[in-house]
Symmetry: C2
Subunit: 144 residues, 2 copies
DNA sequence: CTACAATTGAGACTGATTCTCATTATCAAT
DNA sequence: ATTGATAATGAGAATCAGTCTCAATTGTAG
């Protein structure tokens, strides 16, 4: 039986007239297993080991589809590169990113979210998504 | 008499053993006069009109120096490009960015800042800077 | 099974940014 | 002012992430 996330992805694809292919399944699968945020390049490098014919373009295309479908989130690392994480069984959260070791710590705060909504509303602005990233040094790195 | 920002820039440069040059002065000056956030490319294009020998690399280098010195901030536009603004006589603020027209609206909220500090502290994380960008549609664009 | 439409991978391409390095400018000490 | 050590500059090459193109392949409705 197909696990939940795969089904959700398939449904999302179908609703856009897209197909559920081997490559797309592999990419989602890898993202699900990953313990941390993955750059497209890292994802490509790792998946290539199993499937040496996989194309870089397919990785980017699939990540975009996942992002559009609301199944994955993109964050920006301290060096400017992008990284992705899946959103299954994860509540909304924001990130603290260590500028030394690139560790990513997740946090949530309902009050911040509420205030955000109040602010956008007061400007007649319709929020679609946001990025709240705090850069600094994690506990380990700040003492080195 | 040299205006404040130029003096501050010179001081920042000196403290790093760097020199206050014509190009650096021009770039800061342009940033000060700009009414909106400038991409490095736009800055280069405009300044090239006056000083046709100015190099792109110098623009990027100078923006980095300004950023390091805490005299300029970088934001990321909806299309992924970066843009800069100077920080003279401007309180800290975050941004709402229209995904259609790229308009940038500034906002501040002390409560959010306080909560942020509380959160980072609870993780033993030392914040250096943060990026809080809300993407969506501005009042004008959402009705089109 | 067929036919059409969507997907794919390879590699060319793009745009932003960084790098290299020969030349030029700055500045402190003559 | 001249010098010399050092840093900054500009031109263009190089890099890097990401996108595009297109011929070949695959998925799927019928």
């Amino acid at each position: 039986m197909k696990p939940e996330p795969q089904k959700a992805f398939q449904k999302a694809l179908e609703s856009k007239g897209l197909k559920f292919t081997k490559q797309r399944a592999e990419i989602l699968d890898f993202l699900l297993k990953a313990k941390k945020h993955l750059t497209p390049e890292a994802l490509y490098r790792e998946l290539s080991k199993k499937d040496s014919s996989l194309g870089r373009a397919t990785v980017f295309r699939t990540l975009h589809v996942l992002e559009d479908a609301g199944l994955a989130d993109k964050i920006t690392l301290a060096d400017g590169r992008n990284a992705y994480e899946h959103k299954f069984a994860k509540p909304h959260h924001d990130h603290m990113i260590c500028v030394d070791c690139s560790e990513v710590i997740e946090f949530t705060n309902d009050t911040i979210e509420e205030i955000q909504n109040k602010i956008t509303r007061s400007f007649g602005f319709s929020p679609l998504w946001h990025r709240h990233e705090i850069f600094g040094k994690c506990r380990k790195c700040k003492t080195i």
